[in-house]
C-alpha cells in the first residue's frame, strides 16, 4: 500500500470569476430562502398570498435553488481544479453569463407570464395548464432552463478538455491504473477524481435534460409531436437527479482540500477512495428510477434497481467521505473556526440526510411516503446542512483575514443558530412526511398547520443566520482574491 504524507499547499485567493459566481449564488440564495419562508408561512396561515403566488414562488424556489447549487458547486470545483489543470476563464465566465440570462428568462416567465409548472416541468403540464399560463410563458421557462443547461455543458466540456490534456483520459483521472493495478501512490488528487466524476455524469445529465427540453419546446408549438409521458418523466428525473447530486460532489471538494490544511494530515486518493468514486460515477447515473417507484408501468427490474442502488450508494458517502472526515479530524489538534466548523458539520449534514433518503427509496416505504413532506425533508438536510454548508465554509475560508484570525461572537452565534434552525426545519419536514402531509400544497388542512407554524419559525432562524454568513462574505470580498495562508494550523504543529 502506498504511504501517504501531508505536504503543505499554499492557499490561493479566488479569481474574479469565482467570486462573481459566489456573489450571484449568495444573492439568489437569500432571495430564494425568503420565497421558501413565504411558502411555509402561507401554509402556516401566517400570511395569505393565494395559491397562484404560492405556486409561482414554489417554481422559482425550486429552479433558483437548483441553479445556485450548481453555480456555487461549480465555483468550488473550478477554484481548486484550476490549481491542477489549465481551465479556460472565458468558458467559465460564459457559463455565468448564460446562467444570468437563463435566470432572467425564468423570472420573466414566472413573474410576467405567470408560469408555475414547478421546476421539474413534468410533461405534459407546461403545455396543458387549462389556460392558466400562456404557451409563451412555458416556452420562456423551458428556454431559460435550456440556456442554463447549455452554459453548464460548455463548462463541463472545457473541464473534460483540460483533464484530458493533463491526464490523457478519464480512466487515468479517475485513478484506474492505481485502483485496478499497482497503487504507486501517484493517483490524481481527490479534486481531479471528483471533478472527473462530475464531468462524466453531468455531460450525460445535461444532454438528456437539453433533449427533453427541446422535445417539449417542439411539442408546445406542434402538439402533434407527441412524447411518451413515461419516457419524458424518466429523462427529466435522470437529468434532475444527476444534476442536483453533482452539486454535492462538486462542493465536497472544499472539504477534501481545506480540512487537510487545517489538520496537516493528507486526504489522498487511496484505493478505497478511488473505488468509491468510480462506483458512484455509475450508481448516480442509474439510480434515477427511484423517482419513478410509483409508476407501476415502468419496468419492474429498473424500479428494483433504483432501490438496490439507493442502498449501495450510502456506502461511499458514509464509509469513505464522512468517515474520512472523521478520521482526519480525530485527535488532530484542529483549531475550530467558522470555516472548519462549517466544513465538518457539512459532512454530518450530507451523511445524516442520506438516511431518510435511502429509506424513502425503499419501494414499500415509498408506497406511503412518495411526494409527502418527507421528500423535501431529506433533500433539505443534505442540500442545506450538507452542500450549502460546504459553500458557506468555503466562503469563510476565502474571506479569512489572516491565518490565526478569531471569529466574532456574532459569527459563532450564527453558526449555532444555523445548525439549530436547519435541524429543526428539516426534522419538522420529515415529521410532517411521517404524518402523510403531501408536498407542494398551497393550502394545508387544519391538522397540518401546527407543523407549518413551527417550520416557519425555524426557517426564520436559518435565514437570519445565513444573512450573517453572507454579509460577512461580502464584507471580506476584497480579501478573498489575495494569495496568503488562511487555514489555521493544528495545535502542536502551529508552535
Amino acid at each position: 500500500m502506498a504511504n501517504y504524507t501531508y505536504t503543505s499547499v499554499p492557499d490561493q485567493g479566488a479569481k474574479a470569476g469565482v467570486l462573481a459566481y459566489l456573489v450571484t449564488a449568495a444573492t439568489v440564495l437569500l432571495l430564494m430562502m425568503v420565497f421558501g419562508l413565504l411558502m411555509r408561512m402561507e401554509q402556516a396561515q401566517f400570511i395569505s398570498m393565494g395559491a397562484i403566488w404560492f405556486y409561482e414562488l414554489m417554481t422559482l424556489h425550486g429552479a433558483g435553488m437548483v441553479g445556485i447549487a450548481g453555480i456555487s458547486g461549480a465555483a468550488i470545483m473550478w477554484h481548486f481544479l484550476r490549481q491542477y489543470v489549465a481551465l479556460s476563464q472565458g468558458v467559465f465566465i460564459a457559463n455565468l453569463v448564460l446562467f444570468i440570462i437563463g435566470v432572467a428568462m425564468i423570472l420573466a416567465s414566472v413573474l410576467f407570464g405567470h408560469f408555475y409548472g414547478a421546476w421539474t416541468f413534468l410533461y405534459p403540464l407546461p403545455s396543458k395548464s387549462m389556460g392558466t399560463w400562456s404557451q409563451e410563458a412555458a416556452a420562456l421557462f423551458m428556454g431559460g432552463m435550456l440556456v442554463i443547461g447549455v452554459g453548464f455543458l460548455l463548462m463541463h466540456l472545457d473541464i473534460a478538455r483540460a483533464i484530458m490534456a493533463r491526464y490523457g483520459n478519464f480512466a487515468r483521472s479517475l485513478g484506474w491504473p492505481q485502483l485496478f493495478g499497482q497503487d504507486d501512490g501517484k493517483a490524481p488528487p481527490p479534486t481531479v477524481v471528483a471533478s472527473t466524476m462530475v464531468t462524466i455524469i453531468n455531460i450525460v445529465s445535461l444532454v438528456v435534460g437539453a433533449s427533453i427540453l427541446s422535445m417539449m419546446l417542439v411539442n408546445l408549438y406542434f402538439p402533434g409531436f407527441n412524447i411518451d409521458p413515461l419516457l419524458a418523466k424518466g429523462m427529466i428525473y435522470l437529468f434532475g437527479h444527476v444534476f442536483i447530486n453533482s452539486t454535492i460532489y462538486m462542493a465536497v471538494i472544499a472539504v477534501y482540500e481545506i480540512l487537510p490544511r487545517y489538520t496537516q494530515r493528507p486526504w489522498k486518493s487511496s484505493r478505497v477512495f478511488l473505488a468509491a468514486w468510480t462506483a458512484s460515477t455509475f450508481m448516480v447515473l442509474f439510480i434515477f428510477p427511484h423517482h419513478l417507484l410509483m409508476d407501476f408501468a415502468f419496468p419492474t427490474w429498473m424500479l428494483i434497481m433504483g432501490q438496490v442502488i439507493g442502498y449501495f450508494s450510502t456506502f461511499p458517502v458514509l464509509v469513505v467521505t464522512a468517515y474520512g472526515g472523521l478520521m482526519i479530524v480525530y485527535r488532530s489538534g484542529i483549531r475550530w473556526d467558522m470555516c472548519s466548523m462549517l466544513l465538518f458539520v457539512s459532512l454530518f449534514g450530507w451523511a445524516a440526510g442520506v438516511m431518510p433518503a435511502f429509506i424513502d427509496g425503499t419501494i414499500t416505504v415509498n408506497y406511503v411516503m412518495h411526494n409527502t413532506m418527507w421528500v423535501p425533508g431529506h433533500f433539505h438536510t443534505y442540500l442545506l446542512l450538507g452542500m450549502m454548508t460546504m459553500v458557506f465554509g468555503f466562503m469563510y475560508y476565502l474571506g479569512k483575514p489572516y491565518q490565526n484570525a478569531q471569529d466574532s461572537f456574532l459569527d459563532r452565534f450564527a453558526f449555532w443558530g444555523f445548525l439549530l434552525g436547519t435541524l429543526g426545519f428539516t426534522l419538522n419536514l420529515l415529521k410532517s412526511g411521517e404524518e402523510s402531509v403531501p408536498r407542494r400544497y398551497a393550502v394545508h388542512l387544519p391538522e397540518w398547520v401546527p407543523y407549518d407554524k413551527i417550520g416557519s419559525i425555524f426557517a426564520m432562524l436559518v435565514i437570519a443566520s445565513v444573512l450573517v454568513f453572507i454579509i460577512r462574505f461580502l464584507a471580506r470580498l476584497g480579501l478573498s482574491s489575495r494569495d496568503y495562508q488562511r487555514a489555521t494550523l493544528a495545535r502542536s504543529a502551529a508552535v
Binding site: 397562484i52 405556486y55 403540464l125 408501468a297 431518510p356
Partner: protein
C-alpha cells in the same frame, strides 16, 4: 405503520451519525502525531463498520423487496371477488367508476389520467396515506388494496398538477356489506 418505522429508523441512524461526529469533535483537541498508526486503527474499524452495514442493509433490502406493491399478492390473503374501480384524474378532479367498496374484500384500482400527471393517494380515516400510484396519461397503473376498516377514505392528489392540485380531493366509502354502485 411504514411511516412510523421509517421515521424511527431515520431518527436512530441520524442520531448514531451525530454521536460519531460529536465524539470526534470532542476528541479533536489534542494532537496524535503518529497519523499513520491512527489511520491503521481507523481503517480496521472502518472494515468492521463496512461489514456491519452490509449485514444490516443487505437483509433489510432483500426483506423489503419481498413485498412489492406491484402485484396482487400485496393485497393480502383476503377472499372474495376483486372489486374493480376505474380511476381517471383530470385537472382538477377525480372520476371514480364507483365510490363504495366492501371491506375485507380486495379492490383493484385501475388508475390513469386524461390530461397531465396526477398522483392517486388513498388516505384512511385518520388522514394517513395507505396506498398510492401515479396517474399518468396513456398508462394504467393498478393498485391492489384490501380495506380492513370501514369508513370514509379520502383521495388526494400526490403529483403537482397546477393551480387546483391541493383542491383535488375525493372520497371513497368503505362499508361492511358487499360493495355496490
Amino acid at each position: 405503520m411504514s411511516q412510523q418505522i421509517a421515521w424511527l429508523v431515520s431518527l436512530v441512524l441520524m442520531t448514531l451519525i451525530a454521536f460519531g461526529f460529536a465524539f470526534v469533535a470532542i476528541n479533536s483537541g489534542t494532537r496524535e502525531e503518529d497519523y499513520p498508526l491512527l489511520q491503521k486503527r481507523a481503517y480496521r474499524l472502518r472494515t468492521k463498520l463496512f461489514w456491519v452495514m452490509v449485514l444490516i442493509l443487505g437483509p433489510a433490502m432483500i426483506y423489503t423487496l419481498l413485498s412489492l406493491p406491484y402485484d396482487t399478492s400485496y393485497a393480502g390473503n383476503n377472499i372474495g371477488p376483486v372489486q374493480v374501480v376505474d380511476v381517471t384524474g383530470y385537472e382538477w378532479r377525480w372520476e371514480l367508476s364507483r365510490d363504495r367498496v366492501a371491506k375485507d374484500q380486495p379492490v383493484e384500482f385501475r388508475v390513469t389520467s386524461a390530461d397531465v400527471n396526477h398522483g392517486f393517494g388513498i388516505y384512511d380515516t385518520d388522514m394517513h396515506l395507505v396506498a398510492q400510484t401515479q396517474a399518468m396519461p396513456g398508462y394504467t397503473n393498478k393498485i391492489h388494496y384490501t380495506f380492513t376498516k370501514a369508513g370514509t377514505y379520502k383521495i388526494l392528489c400526490m403529483e403537482y398538477c397546477g393551480i387546483g392540485h391541493h383542491d383535488m380531493m375525493s372520497e371513497i366509502h368503505v362499508g361492511d356489506l358487499k360493495g355496490s354502485k
